[in-house]
Symmetry: C2
Subunit: 368 residues, 2 copies
């Protein structure tokens, strides 16, 4: 079992990682678990159907069986105000108190929801995260919790750290292809904003199906370390934490206008990263041709970009301007000076429009 | 203008108090207000109708007029998940960002709601509180924010501190009698848990209508200091902060079963305090006869207790056991060893039942 310590101002906690490590990891927290008056798992329904016993069984062994499971709709569709309220109802019906403990069992969305429920139930109770997707390596570190508003993603939330994260790599074997692409997009993002050599390595991966468990664990670990270093310096996103939003401004706009559930988060971020790299070539010192090379490699890995052809720039701009990173009516983008060297820039509506046209041209050419 | 500094682990901020002090107090925060991209007041509709210009006009003067007002239902009825979401919708429609600032303009309920909206909008933006009731002297200090769940009061919330509190005593002159009683109940609570001499003084008040503005300011100031001292030592309610819940366990159960809006918070707390004093006489060293004396004085001040005759103990118990202070199925009550000396005790269901009967007998005798 590999352990990575995450340091934040408000809390220090560990990410435990490896294949089939849940029982071993849980035993480290036996004392807190035994003192809990209720233990509730909030689980993504799809993941629960496949794997819930991998968590329930060891939890029952350790605590003598007081485990309750509340299943929520799969993926991003759980991050609604209604499901948020339903989770509170479930906890109240089960006589949960401030001494109760929550577990998030699912992908990033389930973690975001559960974390927000934990941070607000009776003004805050402890929670653990068991991410079950590659993508969730990103959201499981850093304490951002949230649900969506019909007018924007992650608009309602809080900063709230888990007690620990248990990352069982064996759970990832059942991920569908689009979820692998989604998660690997965030891995690639962590490489792009931190490390040229790692990016070179990733360019050598031509097909995600060839990734071994040990490759995956290595990448996830590297990604978590990149994120943890940044979060340590800037927990509340006043400065460098913004760099983690690389690819997310345009990406969120795509995700939001296409509709959550129709495109995965990471696939939208991949589109946003190509867009941000194109802006970077124009506005920073990023080497000319890098965005194009990256775009073609993404296509080879199975990422698709056709979604943007169905949206006008005006539609995307409307969402981007409401982005949490926007202020005073400007678009704030994270760009790359070069690989491993991110920078925050203000982009005018017109600059954004020009690049939107150019990317759409690339996509149209490739789909002929 | 009187200033009281509130110290918490996460933040230090001031309560500014006096008659017509809003403009003067606002000017101390001019820099932050000018750097905000949007300023939104979330206002209790009833209070807004009477007084909104007392806040809007000076804010416009200082910021050159970018003030938006969102009116919410009066009193406790604003603390719903629906109004919470509507506030977020309003903020998003007004293009608010992380650089926006909120003001709460109303009683404690409006402050609780606005604080919770501020703590969750894009994971947290700054807010100021302008309490407009006596009762709100309690909730304006300590950073507890919350909305209600249909199964319990303040079940969904967070700990989140305001930037500052502006307490304009002149706004209190339009309070209806029941709101004066409601607020004075919390003043009396602060006296009971802290200071014998102050309790003696308060016993001399036979009629709230004789209170002068300067009396009121003195009491509010004293109450805030009591609360601030306790919050300073225990921001997240692991220990002594529980003492502030004196009268609230039974009180919340009354409020919850009668229905918010049918009895004011403080009037319910007054009933809860009599109940807790009766339990204290039985279970601590509190002098015999004090609860009865207190009960009779409360009747003289216009507090009514008839509400409890409409509720069975079972109904009240069901709510008490779901209280945030309950755990492992026990009732946790704050009692008084003597005036000024609170203590936390576990009460059995039967002990609670006995006292419920006794208080109902007292109430029946008095209403003959």
């Amino acid at each position: 079992m590999q352990n990575i310590t995450i340091e934040t101002i408000t809390k220090e906690y560990d990410v435990h990682m490896g294949s089939n490590i849940i029982q071993e990891a849980l035993s480290l927290y036996k004392e807190q678990l035994l003192s809990a008056d209720q233990i509730v798992i909030i689980a993504d329904r799809t993941v629960a159907n496949l794997h819930i016993n991998k968590l329930v069984t060891p939890l029952q062994t350790i605590t003598n069986g007081r485990i309750k499971v509340y299943e929520v709709p799969p993926g991003e569709s759980c991050k609604t105000i209604e499901t948020f309220y339903d989770c509170h109802s479930f906890l109240l019906n089960e006589n949960c108190s401030r001494k109760s403990v929550l577990f998030a069992f699912g992908g990033g969305a389930c973690g975001d929801l559960t974390g927000f429920v934990a941070s607000t139930f009776m003004r805050g109770i402890p929670f653990y995260q068991i991410p079950t997707t590659i993508l969730a390596h990103d959201s499981a570190v850093g304490g951002k919790t949230a649900i969506n508003h019909s007018q924007g993603k992650n608009m309602i939330g809080s900063f709230y750290q888990p007690e620990a994260v248990f990352y069982d790599i064996s759970l990832l074997s059942t991920l569908p292809e689009n979820e692998v692409r989604s998660g690997m997009a965030e891995v690639i993002k962590h490489a792009l904003i931190s490390n040229q050599q790692w990016v070179n390595e990733l360019f050598e991966v031509q097909d995600f199906s060839t990734l071994t468990t040990s490759n995956l664990q290595e990448y996830l670990c590297k990604g978590i370390v990149v994120k943890a270093e940044i979060v340590k310096g800037d927990e509340f996103e006043h400065g460098s934490r913004k760099f983690l939003n690389f690819g997310h401004t345009y990406g969120h706009a795509i995700e939001n206008t296409i509709g959550y559930g129709h495109i995965t988060h990471g696939e939208a971020v991949m589109i946003g990263m190509v867009y941000a790299l194109m802006l970077s070539e124009e506005l920073t010192e990023l080497e000319s041709g890098f965005a194009r090379k990256f775009f073609l490699h993404a296509l080879k890995l199975g990422y698709t970009f056709d979604a943007i052809l169905t949206k006008t720039y005006e539609e995307l701009f409307e969402v981007m301007i409401r982005d949490k990173k926007a202020s005073h009516g400007d678009l704030h983008f994270v760009l790359l000076n070069k690989v491993g060297d991110p920078i925050s820039k203000i982009i005018s509506k017109e600059q954004g429009h020009k690049m939107d046209k150019q990317l759409k041209n690339w996509v149209r050419e490739e789909s002929i």
